[in-house]
């Protein structure tokens, strides 16, 4: 019953991974590498690499990768469903409660305290991707040699365009992908 096992394992990962993203890595490693031995440690590192290069949440990427390995595309679907089912249940309950009680003054007070914290959260999540864009090696920090000139140009131009005009995020990313690839290819 590989399907059931996949579902349950990723259900487990999905229901315990608070904070999302890389916080869920140890949990996935424990389940997939150590407990079930579905992947070797080298495979697991490969997944992390792929996840950094491809879009999408790392938990979903791992679900799909492991599922495909174990039982083909149906395995990928089952693992992904397992991973998102806990979210669906918990978040839908929260969404329902929010709709129902958001006008209570207590809830209003809590939410107005959370909003500025979330702004900070978003900004700080942004710092790592900004650092990755502006410097060749974010670990080395600000030195002239470490500056990624093309990244800086792309970043500043995009930011300026968005400050002046409303541009959809997807158009912005695609344009950067094309222009960036050309610049990096010829100048990088």
């Amino acid at each position: 019953m590989i399907y059931l096992q996949l579902f349950l394992t990723f259900f487990h990962v999905g229901s315990l991974s608070f904070g999302g993203g890389y916080a869920s890595l140890p949990l996935i490693q424990e389940q997939v590498v150590l407990k079930h031995k579905w992947l070797s440690m080298a495979d697991f590192v490969d997944i992390i690499t792929i996840s950094q290069m491809t879009p999408g949440p790392i938990a979903l990427n791992t679900s799909t990768f492991v599922g495909t390995r174990m039982a083909g595309f149906p395995g990928a679907v089952v693992a992904t469903l397992g991973c998102v089912t806990p979210s669906c249940i918990i978040v839908l309950i929260l969404a329902f409660l929010y709709k129902r009680y958001k006008n209570l003054s207590v809830v209003q007070a809590i939410l107005s305290g959370l909003r500025p914290a979330v702004v900070a959260l978003i900004a700080s999540a942004g710092t790592s991707i900004v650092a990755l864009t502006l410097w060749h090696d974010p670990e080395l920090g600000m030195s002239a040699a470490n500056f990624n000139g093309i990244g800086v140009v792309l970043f500043v131009t995009s930011l300026a365009i968005m400050r002046i005009r409303r541009v959809g995020p997807i158009k912005m990313m695609l344009a950067n992908g094309v222009v960036g690839a050309v610049l990096y290819y010829f100048l990088g």
Binding site: G14, S15, G19, G21, Y22, D46, Q52, P55, G56, A59, N61, T64, F65, R69, A76, P86, S87, I90, V91, L92, L94, A95, F96, Y98, K99, V106, A109, I110, L111, G113, L114, R115, P116, A117, V118, V119, A120, L121, I122, A123, S124, A125, I129, V130, G151, L154, S158, L159, R166, G168, P169, I170, M172, N176, G177, V178, V179, G180, A181, Y184
Partner: protein, 192 residues
Amino acid sequence: MQRDSKFYRKLFQSTFTLSAFTFGGGTVIVPLMQQKFVNELGWLEQEEMLNLCAIAQSAPGPMAVNVSILLGYHLAGLPGAFFSILGTIMPPLFILTLVSSIYTWFKSSTVVSLVLRGMQAGVAAVVVDVSLKMAGTVFGQKRILYVAIMFFALLAILVFKMNILLVLAISALTSLLNMYYMKKRERRVSTS
């Protein structure tokens, strides 16, 4: 706004493309959603978006999935949640299935890595743009308390690497205590 098939198609399309192009995962999807649903489509207010994000953060599971469910439910109830979650989980499913079969080529392909590097700059710009706008709104409220919470959270997360749930709990509690304090003072003023 009419909840017709056109609306659902747009909702699915938007969550699908956002999920398909969001690198970095997690919280990075929020500014992109903000740009799409608040600034471009005007389907909800920024304040509402931040509320949803706060709720999503306090539940387990991938952030992108949680925010999508909340957003879909907020806009159009259960059917909305269904379409937005479908849009969010399909791209990783297809992309990873494809990539895992051509992994060696993918990892060594120059074109792929150059395009991805370029897109990274776009994502960074969107995140900064939206962060600036959001911070502007917090300043615009002209309430010291909220500005203080924002800076506290920024320091706590970036410098002190404090657990995010703890940061959120402290922020919520501070605002709650402030409300009770204000109410008490109002009562005292009105009785005297």
